[in-house]
Symmetry: C2
Subunit: 240 residues, 2 copies
C-alpha cells in the first residue's frame, strides 16, 4: 500500500520578502519521512485571504494531509484560522475549550487575556485542538488540514503533538554515495541502474569542491534489502 | 503602477524528502525585492512530469514571471526542460547555439561531450538562453518562465544574468522595530496604526529570548517618507 501523501502550506510574507528564511519546511520534511508520510508539495503564499483560501482548498483536495505554518497569533495579520474556516465553509468563533486553555496560561503568567490574545481562541466549528506545550495557544485540525504556528519552536512542538495521531506507512529509507566525478560521467551508468531497479528512486546532485566536480547519488526506497543491493551495484560501477 | 509579480518553482525531491535544505528561495526573494518585483508565491514540487507541467502552467498564468530552480543537469532525473516545453506545447531538441557553448567549455576542460552532457543543450523552441558563467550549461527563458539550475552558485549566477533584462518597479522598502513585549500587548495599537496607514503593510513576528517574549514589527512600503512617519508613530507607541 502506498504511503499517505502530504503537502505543506507556509503563510509567509516574511519569507517571500526575503527578510527571514523558512525553517519549518525542512523540519516537517524530515519528520514526515521518518513517519512514513510522503511530502509531495510545499507552497509559500502571502498573508492574503484569497491566496490562503485557494491554497488550502487545492492542497486539501489533492493530498491526504495538509500542514500549515504561520498566521495564528494575536495580531491583525494573523488570518490563517479564519481562512481555513472559510475554505471549508465553517463558522469560526472563540471556543470555550480554547479560551479555557488561554485563561489558565495567562493566569499563571499574571498577564491579562485581552481582546487580541482572545483571538487565538478562535477555532473553526468541528475542529480538533492541537496541543501547544510551548506557549499554550492551540493549533487545530479541521478535516485533513493541520494548522500550526510559524515560530519554529512552537511549530516543532505541534508537529510532535499531531504526528503520533496520524497513520504512517513504511518510512522512506535512503542511502547515498559521493562520487568524485562530474555528473556527465555518472549519468549513463546511473540511468541503466535506475532502469534495473524501478522500485527505487535515484537522484543525482552535483557539487563542486576545491575546483573539482562531484556527484552525490541518493537512492531511496522502502525495502532495505533492495537498497543494499542497489548500493552494492553503485559501488561496483564507481569504485574508490 | 503596481510592481511586476513573480512566483518561484523549486523542482525538489531532495528538499521534500528533508535530505537537503533549499537555499535558492531566500536568495531569489532578496534579489527580487531589491529589483522591485513582488515574489507572491513559491512552490516546491517533486521531480515528476505531471507535477512540474501543472505547476508551470498554473504559475505562468497567474504571475508576470516564474523562476524555476533545479532539474536541468545531465542525469535521467533532470526533466525540467522537457516539462517546461510540454507546458507550452513546444518542441524540444539539442539546439546548435547551446551545443556550441557546451563544446567550447568541454574542449577547454579536455572532457568528452558525451550523450549525457549533450542533454544539457536540449532547449525548447523559441526560448532565449540564460548565461551560466559558472559551468557553461545554459538556462533558458520560455515565455515568462526562467529556467535555472539548482546548485546555489549556478542559480545565483543565472539570477544575476536574468534580472537586469527584466523591468522592475519601485523596490519594496522595510523598516523594523524590536519590541520587548508580547504580541498580545502589541496587537491592539498595531492594528490601529495599520488602519491609519493603508498604503503600508505591517507584520508582527514574535520571538522568545531568555524566557522573555518580544515582537519584531516590520513595516513595508515603497514611499520612504511614509515609512519614516509610520516608524516614528511606532516608536511613540512603544518607547524604550
Amino acid at each position: 500500500m502506498p504511503n499517505p501523501t502530504a503537502a505543506m502550506l507556509v503563510i509567509g510574507d516574511e519569507i517571500l520578502s526575503g527578510r527571514t528564511r523558512d525553517a519549518n519546511m525542512h523540519h516537517l520534511a524530515q519528520a514526515l519521512t521518518r513517519h512514513g508520510i510522503d511530502l509531495c508539495e510545499a507552497r509559500v503564499v502571502r498573508d492574503r485571504e484569497e491566496a490562503i483560501v485557494d491554497a488550502v482548498r487545492a492542497l486539501s483536495g489533492a493530498f491526504d494531509h495538509v500542514f500549515t505554518s504561520g498566521g495564528i497569533g494575536p495580531t491583525h495579520d494573523d488570518i490563517t484560522a479564519d481562512c481555513v474556516a472559510r475554505a471549508f465553509d465553517r463558522a469560526i468563533d472563540v471556543r470555550d475549550d480554547a479560551r479555557a486553555i488561554l485563561e489558565a496560561h495567562y493566569d499563571r503568567q499574571q498577564t491579562e487575556l485581552n481582546e487580541a490574545r482572545l483571538r487565538m481562541a478562535r477555532i473553526p466549528e468541528g475542529a480538533t485542538l492541537i496541543d501547544n506545550p510551548v506557549s499554550a495557544a492551540p493549533g487545530f485540525t479541521l478535516e485533513n488540514v493541520h494548522v500550526m504556528a510559524g515560530v519554529p519552536a512552537i511549530f516543532e512542538a505541534m508537529v510532535a503533538s499531531v504526528l503520533p495521531t496520524l497513520t504512517g506507512g513504511a518510512p522512506m529509507l535512503s542511502q547515498s554515495l559521493q562520487i568524485f566525478r562530474g555528473e556527465g560521467d555518472v549519468a549513463g551508468p546511473l540511468r541503466k541502474l535506475a532502469e534495473a531497479y524501478p522500485d527505487l528512486s535515484f537522484g543525482s546532485y552535483p557539487f563542486q569542491r576545491q575546483g573539482a566536480y562531484g556527484s552525490n547519488v541518493v537512492v531511496r526506497g522502502q525495502d532495505p534489502g533492495r537498497l543494499d543491493e542497489a548500493m552494492a551495484e553503485l559501488h561496483r560501477l564507481f569504485p574508490g
